[in-house]
Symmetry: C2
Subunit: 272 residues, 2 copies
Amino acid sequence: MKRSERVVCLVNYFLNSPYERIQLSYFTNQYSASKSSISEDLDIVNDMFIYEGIGELKRVSGASGGVIYQPVFSKENNEAFIQSLCEKLADPARILPGGYLYMSDLLGDPEIVKKIGRAFVSVFSGIKIDAVVTVETKGIPLAYAVASYLNVPVVIIRRDPKVTEGSSVSINYVSGSSRRIQTMVLSKRNLKENLNVCIIDDFMKAGGTITGMVDLLKEFKAKVVAIGVLAEAEDEEDERVIKSYTSLINVKNVDAELKEITVNQGSIYQTS
Amino acid sequence: MKRSERVVCLVNYFLNSPYERIQLSYFTNQYSASKSSISEDLDIVNDMFIYEGIGELKRVSGASGGVIYQPVFSKENNEAFIQSLCEKLADPARILPGGYLYMSDLLGDPEIVKKIGRAFVSVFSGIKIDAVVTVETKGIPLAYAVASYLNVPVVIIRRDPKVTEGSSVSINYVSGSSRRIQTMVLSKRNLKENLNVCIIDDFMKAGGTITGMVDLLKEFKAKVVAIGVLAEAEDEEDERVIKSYTSLINVKNVDAELKEITVNQGSIYQTS
C-alpha cells in the first residue's frame, strides 16, 4: 500500500476513534508497513490535522507505545461558528412568548449539532470525563455530539419513569421558568456510581434544571466536572444558581413586543 | 502541498460532508493543485473508501462537474455489526416486564448509534430523502445518526406541545402496547410541506406509533419514502399495521419467566 493510500485509512480511523489509544503495531500489521513508515504517516496526518484546526495526534511513549487522536478544534473555527449561530439567533422572528427563542431548526441540523459538540470538547479537553449526561429532550442531540468526540457514553435523565428502563431514582426540583415542582428520573442501570460526568443542555436561565440534574447525579455519587449549555439567558427574577459553566451563546434583552434581541458569544473563551 | 497531505484534507472534508456536491475547482483553489493532481487524489481516496467499505466518491460530469461522497457501507461490515448487536441483546438479563428489552446502554453508546445510522443509510441509498423524522425520545439519537450521513435535517415529533416551538398540529392515536389513546404534536415551523421523509424509531411492535407518525405527517403533505426501526418484535395480539419497513434486528420469543429470548437479524437485507 502506498503512503497516500495508508493515509486515507489512517484519517478515517482517527476521525472515527477520538480519544482511543492505538498501538503502532496495529497499523503496521493492518497495512503491512514498517514502524518507521507508519511513524512518518502519523507525522503527516498530525501536521495536516493541526493545519486544518481539527485537533492533533498525541504520541504515547513507553514499552507499549501508541497514538491518540485528540479532537480539539481551533479557537478560530469555533468562534467563527459561534458568530454565525449568533447571527442566525438574532433574527427577531425567533422570539416566542416567555422570552424563549425558536431554535429547533438549528438543533435539527446535524452539521450545526456536530459543530456545537466540537466547541464543547475543545474546551473540555484535559478534563477526565466518563459520561455525558443530559435531560430529555432538546439537549439529547447535543449530548451525543459531545459524547461522540469524547468517545464516552450518553446518559439521559427522563421526565417520567419508563417501562423500558427498569428501576430508577427520582427527585423533585423547582423549575426556574415555570416555578412548578417537576420530576427527574434516572434508571439505576443507566449510570454506574462514582463517575466523572459532564452535563450538557440546550438552554439555561436561572439554572434550576441543571441544579436538579446535579442533585440527582449526587444519588449516583457522580462528580460533575463540566457543565455546557448551548445558550444562556438572564432571568429577570432569579439570580443564577449555577456559577461554573460553559455557554456558547448569551441571549440578552429579548423583547417580544419591540421584537428586539441581543445575542453574543457566551462564556466559552472568557478568562475569569 | 504534497499528495499525502492533500489526501488528509480531502478525507476529512468528505467524511464531514456526505451527499454534498463539490466542484473540483474548490479543491484546486484550496490546495493550489492542478485539476489532474486533484483528480488523481480523488481516485486514490475513492479506491481506499471502497477498500475500507465506507462508500465511494461519485464523479458528476458536465460543465460544472463535481464529486459527491456517498456513504454506503459494505453489507459485510453492516451484517457483522448487526450480529454483534444481536449477541448483546440476547442476554436474558435485558428482559423487562411486558416483553421489553433493556437497550439504553447500547443506545447510549455513540459508536453503536453511528453504526446503526450507517446500516440504515446503506440501504436507503438511492432514495431521495429531504428530512428524517422521529418521535421523542429513544429514536432521537438514531435519527441524528441517519440524518448526519444523509446530510438532511432531523424533525422531532413531541408528546406534548412545547412553549419553545410555537403553533403546532396534533393528532391522537392508539398505542399498540399500552392500548391507550396518546397524542403526537409537530410544530408547524418544524417541517415544510411536500417533503420526502424517512421515519426512524428504536422499537416497533404492532406499529401503532409509526402509523400515528404517518398520519401526522400527512397533515404536512409529507411523503414517507422509508421507515427504519432498530428492533422489531412480534405483538401477540395485534397484526402488524406497517408492512414496508427496514429493521436491523428481530426480537422473538421473549419469555420473562423462563428468561429466554431469540434475537436475529431483521429485514434489512431480506429480498422480498
